[in-house]
C-alpha cells in the first residue's frame, strides 16, 4: 500500500508542481550556503546586483487540486508561479531582509542541532531585530517564505510548530523503548499531540477502533471523551482545536496509513469555517502548500450537514458574518470542493446563516453521541 501511495504521488509529481522536501539538516545547511555564495557572487560580479528572491506564490491562484486516479485522495498542490522579493522596492525591502535574517537563525539552529518552536523563534528575533519582527505573524510568514525559497519543509529548517492537537480513544502509542500510552485512559482531556514530527514518525501505533472521528472543537472533543464515546462506537477521536496544525494532520495521516480501512469522519460546525477545516484535513492548504499536501487524508463529512438542519431549533441559527462569506467565496472559487460540498456551501451562502454542533444539545446532553452513532451506522457521510 505504501508503494502504491508513493507511486501515485510520483505519477502526478510533474515539473509544474512544487514541493518542499524533507531533508536532513546537513542538506538544509548546504542549501543555505549555496544561497549565500550565490548572493555574494552576484554582488561582486562585474555587473553587480543584489539578487532577488524567487518565492513560490502561496495563493489559490497558484494552486491546483490533483484528484487521485488510483485512490480517492485529492490534494492541493502549488504550481511554480514565482513571487519576486526584491530589496529595491521600498515596500518589500523589509520583508526581503527578514528572509535572510530567518535564514541566518535557522542556519545557527541547525548547526547546534536544535529544534525550536515558532514561539521561541519569535522571542529570539524580537530581541535581535525588533523592527524587523514586531509580531509572531511576521515570524510565521517569514518562515513560510524561507520554505518557499529553499524548498525544504519547515520541520527540516529546525522549526516546530507547537501542536494544539489532542487524541483519545481506542489507540495505543509508544515511543520506541518507552512506555505504552493508552489513549482511552487519558481522562477527559485526551493525550496531547507533540509538535515534534520526528517523534510522531517514530511512534508505534496499535488500535482496535473501527472509525477515526475528527472533531473541530475542543469542547465537543472533551464531551465525547468524557462520555467515553469511543467505547460505544469503537473509534479514535482527534482534534486540532480549530484550524489544523501540521503535527495533528501528520498523526492523522500516520493513523490512516497504519489502519487504512478505518473511515475518517469529520464533525464540524455548519459554517464556512467548519468546511474549510474539513478541507484542510482532507486536501492540505495553500498557505503551507509546499508541504501540506503530504498529509492529505480521505476525510468524509459526517456532520453537521444540510440534512441535519431540521434537527436544530430555529433559534440556534445565527447570521453569517462578512468573514464567513469571504471564506465561503474563497472555497467556492478555489476549485477544491467536490460537487456535493459545493452545494452545501451554496446553501450556507444562500441561507445566510450558520449553526454550531452544540445546537444538538437542545435535545439533551447525550443526544450528541446518539446522533453520531446513528449517522455512522447509516453510513450517512459524504
Amino acid at each position: 500500500m505504501e508503494d502504491l501511495q508513493n507511486s501515485t504521488l510520483k505519477f502526478f509529481s510533474d515539473q509544474e508542481l512544487c514541493n518542499a522536501d524533507i531533508v536532513p539538516p546537513a542538506q538544509v545547511r548546504a542549501r543555505i550556503e549555496v544561497s549565500v555564495l550565490n548572493f555574494l557572487k552576484i554582488l561582486n560580479a562585474s555587473n553587480p546586483a543584489i539578487s532577488n528572491l524567487p518565492l513560490i506564490q502561496r495563493k489559490y491562484s497558484n494552486s491546483r487540486v490533483i484528484h487521485g486516479l488510483l485512490t480517492e485522495l485529492s490534494r492541493v498542490f502549488l504550481s511554480n508561479s514565482i513571487s519576486t522579493r526584491s530589496l529595491m522596492r521600498p515596500i518589500a525591502a523589509k520583508a526581503f531582509v527578514r528572509v535572510w535574517k530567518a535564514m541566518e537563525i535557522c542556519y545557527q539552529i541547525l548547526l547546534q542541532e536544535k529544534r525550536v518552536t515558532q514561539r521561541e523563534l519569535f522571542y529570539k528575533l524580537l530581541c535581535l531585530s525588533p523592527d524587523l519582527f514586531p509580531s509572531q505573524t511576521h515570524v510565521n510568514r517569514t518562515i513560510q517564505d524561507l520554505v518557499a525559497l529553499l524548498r525544504c519543509s519547515r520541520f527540516s529548517l529546525g522549526i516546530m510548530a507547537s501542536s494544539r492537537g489532542l487524541i483519545s480513544g481506542r489507540l495505543t502509542l509508544q515511543e520506541p523503548d518507552k512506555e505504552v500510552v493508552d489513549c482511552s485512559l487519558c481522562g477527559s482531556s485526551g493525550f496531547p499531540i507533540s509538535g515534534d514530527l520526528n517523534l510522531l514518525e517514530r511512534l508505534v501505533l496499535h488500535a482496535d477502533a473501527r472509525y477515526v472521528i475528527i472533531v473541530e472543537k475542543h469542547a465537543i472533543f472533551q464531551r465525547l471523551t468524557e462520555d467515553r464515546f469511543f467505547h460505544q462506537i469503537p473509534s479514535i477521536l482527534i482534534t486540532a482545536k480549530g484550524y489544523p496544525d501540521m503535527a495533528t494532520r501528520f498523526l492523522l495521516y500516520r493513523i490512516s496509513r497504519a489502519f487504512p480501512d478505518l473511515p475518517i469522519l469529520a464533525l464540524v460546525d455548519w459554517n464556512p469555517a467548519g468546511l474549510a477545516i474539513l478541507c484542510t484535513f482532507k486536501f492540505g492548504s495553500v498557505g503551507m502548500g509546499l508541504e501540506a499536501y503530504r498529509y492529505a487524508c480521505n476525510v468524509k463529512w459526517l456532520g453537521l450537514r444540510g440534512n441535519d438542519l431540521p434537527l436544530l431549533p430555529d433559534q440556534s441559527f445565527v447570521p453569517l458574518k462578512p468573514k464567513d462569506l469571504q471564506i465561503a467565496q474563497s472555497l467556492m472559487s478555489s476549485g477544491i470542493l467536490q460537487d456535493n460540498y459545493k452545494d452545501e456551501a451554496a446553501v450556507m451562502i444562500q441561507k445566510g446563516r450558520k449553526a454550531e454542533i452544540e445546537a444538538l444539545y437542545f435535545h439533551g446532553y447525550d443526544y450528541l453521541g446518539k446522533y453520531i452513532a446513528k449517522k455512522i451506522v447509516q453510513s450517512d457521510y459524504v
Binding site: V36, L40, I42, S51, P54, R85, I91, K101, E104
Partner: protein, 502 residues
C-alpha cells in the same frame, strides 16, 4: 541702473544704505521715514538714512530714472547728505556723462556734512548740484541720508519696503501723516531669529548660511523655517567651493564662491508652494549685490559634467529674469539650489544675510549684466565643481533619491545578516570561498570587517541603481538561476494569505 518706479528706486536706496552699514562693520541704524506733509501738496517725503560709511557719488552716477507715466509722480530730484570724503569723486563727477535725476550729495572731509542734489531724470554735467555743506561741530559720526518727495502711495510703498526688509540690523521704519494725528506707524526690526551667524564667519560660511536660510524659508516667502518640509537641518546637504584668480587688469584677486544645496523633501507636502517646481534657481551675486547671471556663465554651468555626480542637466533657461537649471529624471522629492558669488577681494567681509533680499530684489533691480571675462568663466566651472566634490565627499547620500535612501537604510542589517551566516559556519571551505568572493584574506577577518565590506558593496549597488533612470533600472538576477519556467513575477503584498485562504 534704471528705475521706472519710485518704489524701485527706494528699494535700491535701502539696499545701498544697507551695504554701507555692512561695510562699516559696526552696529548701524537704518531709518526709513515716510512722511506725508500736510501742505497743499500732499506729497510723500521719503527719507532713507543710515549710519554706515559715507556714500560716494559713484553709487549714484549710474542711476537713471525713466518714467513712462504721463502723470509723473516724481520730479526726479533726489537729495543726499553724506559724511564721506568726497573731493576726488566730485572731480570725476564733472567728467562723467550723467543722465540721472538730481541727487544731492553732501560730503565732508571728516568735519563737514556734504549736501548734493542730483537730478535722476536729467543728463549732462548739470545733473549734480553741490550745495553748501554743514559742519559736524566737532562730533564724530558717519552716515548718509537720501530723500525725495513723491506722490507715490504711502501704503503701497510701505508694503514694498516691508517685504524687502531684512533682519540682521536694527531698522526703524516710520510712516507718518502729519495731517492725521496718531498716524505714526513705527516698527523696529531686530536681529534675525532664524539662524545666527558668528560675526567672525567667513564670506563663504555666511553665503552658505544665507542660502540654507533662503531654502528653508521657501525662497524667503516665509519669515521662518518651514517645519513641514524641513523638520531637521540634516535634510539639507550642502557643498561649498571657492576658486580664485588674480585679475591683472584691475590688480585685484577675483574670488568665485559656489554653494550647492540638495534637499530631500517628501512630496506629500503639496501645501508648500515651490515657485519653480523641480528646477534649480541659480542665485548670482556680484560684489555682494544680487545680479543676473551672465549668458556666458550660464553656458559655463551647462557645460559642467553633472553626469559624474549622477545628475542629468537638460539645460539652463531663463524665466521671469531668473536663471533656472532644468534636470532630467530628478526624483520629485529632491531639490537643488545653487548660489554663485563673484567678487573682488578688496571688499571686507560682509554679513551675507542680505541674501534674504534676493527674492524681492530680483523683481525690482535690473542691473546691466557685466561682461564676464574668460578668467571668471573658468572660475565658475572650478568653484561649482569643487562644491559638487565637497557634497559628494561629505554627503555620499546627497545625490540619492529618497527611495534609495530608504532602501539603503536596510543595508547594515542585511550586511550583518549575511556576515553572520558566513561567520557562524563551521565549514571552512564555505567561509574561504565567501572571503575570496569578497576579496578578503581569511586570516585577517573580524566580524566588523566582513560586515562593512558587504555593506559597502550593497550600498554601491543601491547608489548605482539609483543613478539610472527608472526604466533602465537593472532587473537583478534571481538567487537561484536554475529555475525552469518562472511563470510570472508579482508585486509583494503584505497580506498574502490567511489560514482560510484557499
Amino acid at each position: 541702473m534704471e528705475f521706472s518706479t519710485v518704489q524701485e528706486l527706494c528699494l535700491h536706496l535701502i539696499s545701498s544704505a544697507y551695504q554701507r552699514c555692512r561695510l562699516s562693520e559696526q552696529i548701524c541704524r537704518l531709518a526709513i521715514i515716510l512722511t506725508r506733509s500736510s501742505s497743499s501738496h500732499p506729497s510723500l517725503r521719503i527719507s532713507i538714512s543710515d549710519t554706515g560709511i559715507g556714500s560716494c557719488l559713484e553709487e549714484f552716477q549710474n542711476l537713471r530714472f525713466s518714467s513712462t507715466d504721463v502723470a509723473d509722480n516724481w520730479d526726479g530730484m533726489l537729495s543726499l547728505k553724506t559724511t564721506s570724503n568726497m573731493p576726488d569723486q566730485l572731480f570725476c563727477l564733472r567728467e562723467m556723462v550723467l543722465s540721472c535725476p538730481h541727487i544731492i550729495l553732501i560730503g565732508i572731509r571728516d568735519t563737514e556734512i556734504h549736501s548734493y542734489q542730483i537730478n535722476l531724470k536729467g543728463s549732462g554735467s548739470s545733473r549734480i548740484t553741490r550745495l553748501p555743506s554743514n559742519t559736524k561741530n566737532g562730533a564724530k559720526f558717519s552716515g548718509s541720508e537720501a530723500y525725495l518727495s513723491s506722490f507715490v502711495s504711502r501704503d503701497l510703498l510701505l508694503a514694498d519696503i516691508h517685504t524687502f526688509i531684512q533682519k540682521n540690523i536694527a531698522i526703524q521704519l516710520v510712516a507718518e501723516d502729519c495731517d492725521v494725528p496718531e498716524s505714526r506707524y513705527e516698527k523696529v526690526f531686530l536681529s534675525n531669529e532664524c539662524k545666527q551667524s558668528p560675526v567672525s564667519a567667513s564670506n563663504l560660511e555666511l553665503l552658505k548660511s544665507g542660502i540654507e536660510d533662503y531654502v528653508v524659508k521657501h525662497g524667503n516667502n516665509l519669515s521662518n523655517k518651514c517645519n513641514t518640509c524641513f523638520p531637521s537641518w540634516e535634510q539639507l546637504k550642502v557643498g561649498v567651493g571657492v576658486a580664485c584668480c588674480t585679475d591683472n587688469r584691475l590688480h585685484t584677486e577675483l574670488v568665485m564662491e559656489a554653494v550647492i544645496l540638495i534637499s530631500n523633501v517628501s512630496t506629500q507636502n503639496i501645501t508648500c508652494f515651490r515657485e519653480y517646481d523641480n528646477k534649480t534657481e541659480v542665485l548670482y551675486f556680484e560684489d555682494f549685490s544680487p545680479c543676473t547671471i551672465s549668458r556666458s556663465s550660464m553656458k559655463t554651468l551647462e557645460s559642467i559634467d553633472w553626469k559624474t555626480y549622477g545628475l542629468n542637466l537638460r539645460g539652463a533657461v531663463e524665466q521671469d529674469g531668473v536663471t533656472l537649471l532644468e534636470w532630467e529624471n530628478l526624483p520629485t522629492d529632491t531639490h537643488i539650489d545653487v548660489v554663485l558669488h563673484i567678487y573682488h577681494k578688496q571688499y571686507p567681509a560682509l554679513d551675507r544675510s542680505f541674501l534674504s533680499l534676493s527674492e524681492t530684489v530680483k523683481s525690482t533691480v535690473i542691473p546691466a549684466p557685466r561682461k564676464m571675462s574668460p578668467l571668471a568663466r573658468n572660475l565658475v566651472k572650478r568653484a561649482v565643481k569643487l562644491a559638487l566634490d565637497d557634497l559628494k565627499a561629505n554627503h555620499s547620500q546627497a545625490f540619492l533619491s529618497s527611495r534609495a535612501l530608504q532602501i539603503r537604510g536596510y543595508a547594515p542589517d542585511l550586511a550583518k545578516t549575511i556576515a553572520g551566516l558566513i561567520l557562524s559556519s563551521s565549514d571552512l571551505d564555505f567561509q574561504g570561498e565567501c572571503f575570496s568572493l569578497l576579496g578578503l584574506q581569511s586570516q585577517e577577518v573580524g566580524t566588523e570587517i566582513v560586515e562593512s565590506c558587504i555593506e559597502e558593496r550593497i550600498v554601491s549597488v543601491i547608489e548605482m541603481n539609483d543613478k539610472k533612470p527608472h526604466n533602465y533600472q537593472q532587473v537583478a538576477p534571481y538567487l537561484f538561476e536554475e529555475l525552469e519556467n518562472p511563470v510570472q513575477d508579482s508585486e509583494f503584498q503584505e497580506n498574502d494569505f490567511g489560514p482560510f485562504d484557499f
